[in-house]
Symmetry: C2
Subunit: 723 residues, 2 copies
């Protein structure tokens, strides 16, 4: 019987929750943190998870009769509350082949058990169908510190244990998601049938996976749940062994403000009318001075209120002794005072009704002073203040010319919002932005994340029309579920790029010593972020390049990528890069091939890459690029330029920008990326192309394709490619 | 019995080559291209490759006796020249368990065979040990178009077939190399024993692999050889099935000039006293003009002879009508004439005794005109001229100020020699070199590689004291064995970086349409290049960055890498990058940990990364870097800088350069790389660091570690890390 059989008539699972509740209550009442095998099977039965036929024998003859009824071979195992390690006790016989053997096995098992532990209470001997054949797989669930209940699926057996070929999803999961898990392991082909084997019952297997997800969602006190192995054949699925661990007091999900509450405060934080600078200073070199100067020099148009008990005026702004003295409502208080002064000043903000505090100072949890951070968080909670930081460089929101930071102003307004958990990474973001003139909507430091975190910011950026793409550096997530739910929503509309640091075991160790945060297992992060539609950047530079490029590229309408290159050598490398980045080189239809051939020399190679050859004039580049843009079957272009006297770099850049602009004017907007091989003039040509919405790099064939690949990964996950 | 048993007494294989010769001769004489199973086993026996014990029975009683002697279970199979499909004929019984069963099986098999084909001649019934248990593996050999005979090893079974977990080596291979292959598959752990299983007989398995390598080397007419499956247990190794394919007329290895001959001509090519420019021109825009100008403007100190029947003087140099008119010996003739004029001019070079011709023109094999290329090659062979190209940009050799190219002069002399098969990639090399001021010894275009190829150049660079590192872009190798043998020699002394384009199936297709070269399977390239000690660059930009960085970094003395960072966030990402690049973060000994702690704030994290925290003055960076350099247990430093007011970028750069220089003056030279996070001033700081031998990048944590990782990969392969 397959699990899907059980649900085929109604389509709705027929869960017996009362039965599970009873099993768990009994075990927890007895102070146990693990279920027995029979209890595990009761739970499986209650959730329609198929297990092998079995019976409990209390005599040798009964064992023989039961085995005959179940069908040989069977496996027989001691059942005793006093014997935990059955194999060690000689309490297991595998492959019992007939009735006589069953009788003998019964007697041997009981005798061994009593020899092992003479005072053991013998409940009996379990007689169970021995499952063989089919494919061994593992279905399980565990409680992840970041994401809560997660479901795991992988192939069983020694090889996969070694190769760690397993995939995770946040529970609960739909049947469709569960079927997706089957395709998401490296050895997925095995399930589809190889070397003449029949494919396994994928629907039945997905059903079991989904039911496990439902079970641990319904019963959070199940901390770990293992079906290992599960035998999957063409005809059905059966879990040979069940292991259930309990946590009688599972952690409650973290409290979560409503989307409305988040938006209300985040809007005041990012679009403030009035900002107070706690610890504003006239003395250069002080943080309170840098913050004032950046607010003023950055051109913030709202009101600025310096707060300092020992000054009268700073940069032409009247100074107040306390934030409570400010005559108008204050939206944001930026703290530039030493850590120890934060609690009292924050209390005053509470009295004033300030909704958001930006805590630049360090000296909190990151230096081991968790008590002070806890105190500050408690004050904030008491007064309903949301906290950004502490231990941050501040934040930028360019549409408001808002530079509330001790760094330097940034004024290239554009579509990408960037956040960082670490100050150093924030500085790298700023430097990279400035040198590439990257168009930015916001740069926000999150630091210790005592309160405001990535999902608060994502919620704001989701509704912020100035932001078209979000890029986040993070080392941990305080509430993985909140992040995933928000990200799932946001990524349907805007790309979200995440650089998750601490990817590796060694990296995670460093993360732990840095923030005190327990970094989750990277494989869990990787699978779940991908499922949330997030584009994961493999490193810092990739995050920055994706951030720069993604908002410029329009969303492709389909998977057909075409390479047009003046350098055959670049064409080969660009092809390599396409495959590395999961892009599909279009099979060029005959008529389109013929059309391209009309523009290129007879020894040039059509097909894909289209090699226009090296010595061609601007008109050849122009004609072939135009053809690629105007043919509706082509969805994205990768250009390979080769510096020649006949078509110098700026000529190529200008013609490409012009042809792309003409196409846009005609309503054709396809992503175009370019790799420029040539002398240093190609650098200026790349800048010109970037300025015109074409992602272009010199001296690399990989980077432009990687950015296009990131756009595709997002578009696929967002369901924008129609399949 | 294991194969190693057979050789344990002498250490020398006891091959029976006469037996193999006889088997092959018989099969080839009969016009067969495959051996029968018994022939395959004869070959295995001759080369000491264990196969299951077996015997031929001609009666039921004999079968029972033989089976008893071989040990049960056995498999029994009909032997008849008239029955090809044994199973179909009912001629196979597997798992015969005792003597009675053997008798019965004999009778059943013969009866079935005669029922299937009444007129069949029955030779008898084969009785064979049935192999079970242990680990199934595959050992094979094939004939690769690039590398000739290669040996393959992988795990057997469906999963590995799906996951393609297999490794290759060029035959013959030593026993040590063969043991290395066991560690070189992803699932290597399986062979070492997992889940309580005993490790397999690694020495025995390696012996079989090595013997297969010897066999196909001794008998090139064996085109393919498969042992599949081989059963490997703790006690021994046995090949259950053998498949041998023959090629009666195997391709002869390509002719190869002696190292002496190569060096003699390459020295005249790279260090010429006199150069003739065939097709020199006074007309700007002509290639023959560009080449002249670059030779002159580049500052070449030797003699330059323009050749042109219609000119008298070009750039102050007397023009000759033919190269035969030049009054002195000419070392190099650079061709800047249309393709069709090359044969006659090359013939004149032959008469003149010019040893090397540089063929810039295109219009040969790359445009389909292979006939013209063949003609040119034939002329060159006839006159003993070595050819560079055709279809190239020319070449540079900076120690001689030699710029024989139509591009632009390049004059930053340094330690890296770069070569490219494609002109576009050559232009990217030139642009990148110029913008990064990369110190270069040579840049050489190889184009169609009608004659001179990578191993000729490697041989020259091996002996060239101006070259400390070689970086090569290639799409194919004309003679993989020659390249590997040369590379093995060179990489013991200098890093060789290779960007092999056409890595992926799609990429390889493009390579094929570009050069007409048949690109080999990438996995074969990957394994064999690695075995040759070559550092493979994953992409163009990496090749260029490795080329720039490797000559600057001293060779590390050991595996202990230490990260010192001012930004905890960078520390996490640098740790990730170290793991990604196979670097080992040192476990810091207690005394060294205490020594670091003396320099950093109490809340900073020692351990590794050493997080000195963000607000520290220059003295903290200086003290910790000095400590890392002077402690002899530390072998390489990775620095993470965070831009602050307290320690601005150039202050960090200058102090780091100074401390490293001081250490060098004291005889301590360790590789130091740095990642700089900060505002745009970090770019200038990185340049300063590069100028002082420290590989440093802004806005990336990955790139500096990748360059260090490449240095380590080379040093390990060259055996310089002592294990």
């Amino acid at each position: 019987m397959t699990a899907s059989d059980r649900t085929s008539t109604t389509g709705q699972p027929d869960y017996d929750r009362a039965e599970v509740r009873a099993v768990l209550a009994e075990a927890i009442a007895a102070g146990r943190t693990a279920l027995t095998a029979p209890e595990g099977r009761r739970i499986c039965a209650a959730y329609g998870i198929p297990t092998p036929g079995e019976a409990l024998a209390t005599s040798a003859d009964q064992a023989a009769a039961q085995a005959t009824q179940l069908g040989f071979p069977v496996v027989m195992k001691i059942v005793s509350p006093d014997i935990l390690h059955k194999t060690e006790a000689g309490g297991v016989v595998v492959g019992v082949a007939d009735a006589d053997a069953a009788r003998a096995a019964y007697q041997r098992i009981v005798a061994n058990a009593l020899a092992h532990r003479p005072d053991a209470a013998i409940t009996g001997v379990q007689v169970q169908q021995l499952l063989t054949g089919g494919q061994e797989v593992i279905v399980g669930a565990t409680t992840d510190p970041t994401f809560g209940k997660v479901v795991a699926f992988g192939l069983g057996g020694v090889l996969v244990e070694v190769l760690k070929d397993v995939t995770f999803r946040m529970a609960p999961i739909s049947r469709a998601e569960a079927e997706g898990m089957l395709d998401d392991i490296a050895a997925a082909e095995v399930l589809r049938g190889v070397r003449g084997a029949a494919p396994v019952d994928a629907a039945g297997l997905a059903e079991v996976i989904a039911r496990v997800g439902d079970l641990v969602t319904d019963f959070p006190q199940i901390s770990e749940f293992d079906l290992n192995p599960v035998f999957a054949t063409a005809d059905g699925v059966c879990a040979a062994d069940v292991r259930v661990l309990l946590d009688p007091e599972p952690a409650a999900p973290p409290p979560r403000p409503s989307e409305e509450d988040i938006l209300r405060v985040m809007n005041r934080l990012m679009n403030p009318a009035a900002i107070a600078v706690i610890g504003a200073s006239a003395e250069p070199g002080k943080i309170g001075n840098s913050v004032m100067r950046n607010l003023v020099d950055g051109g913030f148009a709202g009101q600025i209120f310096p707060i300092n008990p020992r000054a009268d005026e700073i940069m032409g702004h009247k100074v107040y002794r306390s934030v409570t003295d400010v005559p108008v409502d204050v939206d944001v208080a930026v703290f530039a005072v030493p850590a120890k002064l934060v609690p009292s000043a924050l209390t005053e903000c509470g009295h004033k009704g300030v909704p958001a505090a930006v805590l630049i100072p360090s000296g909190f949890a990151e230096t081991g002073n968790t008590a002070l951070q806890d105190e500050v968080v408690a004050i904030a909670r008491q007064h309903g203040i949301r906290l950004l930081g502490p231990n941050i460089y501040g934040y930028y929101y360019t549409p408001r010319n808002l530079c509330a930071t001790f760094c330097t102003p940034y004024d290239v307004t554009g579509g990408v919002a960037l956040t960082s958990q670490s100050g150093g990474i924030g500085m790298a973001i700023l430097g990279f932005s400035r040198t590439t003139r990257m168009g930015v909507s916001a740069i926000v430091g999150l630091g210790n994340k005592s309160d405001v975190d990535e999902d608060d910011l994502l919620t704001f950026f989701e509704h912020d029309d100035n932001t078209r793409c979000v890029a986040m550096h993070l080392e941990d997530l305080k509430d993985g579920r909140a992040f995933v739910e928000t990200a799932r929503r946001v990524t349907r509309r805007k790309p979200v790029v995440v650089l998750k640091a601490g990817r590796t075991a060694l990296g995670a160790r460093a993360a732990s010593s840095h923030t005190g945060a327990l970094a989750g297992d990277d494989k869990v992060y990787d699978d779940i972020l991908r499922q949330a539609g997030v584009v994961r950047a493999p490193g810092l530079n990739e995050m920055l390049e994706y951030a720069r490029g993604l908002p410029l590229l329009p969303t492709p309408a389909g998977e057909n990528v075409v390479i047009i290159t003046g350098a055959g050598g670049s064409g080969v490398l660009l092809s390599d890069a396409c495959v590395d980045n999961g892009l599909r080189l279009m099979e060029i239809p005959d008529d389109l091939d013929a059309a391209f051939r009309r523009h290129i020399p007879p020894f040039g190679a059509a097909g894909n890459p289209i090699d226009i050859t090296g010595g061609e004039p601007p008109s050849t580049y122009e004609a072939t690029i135009r053809l690629g843009l105007t043919d509706p079957r082509v969805h994205a272009l990768v250009l390979g330029y080769w510096h020649t006297i006949v078509t110098p770099p700026m000529v190529f850049a200008e013609l490409t920008a012009r042809v792309v602009a003409q196409a846009r004017a005609e309503g054709i907007d396809k992503p175009v990326v370019a790799s420029l091989a040539g002398d240093t003039e190609v650098e200026q040509a790349c800048e010109h192309l970037f300025d015109h919405g074409i992602v272009a790099y010199p001296y690399t064939t990989e980077r432009p394709v990687a950015v296009l690949g990131a756009k595709y990964r997002w578009a696929r996950a967002a369901g924008l490619l129609g399949g």
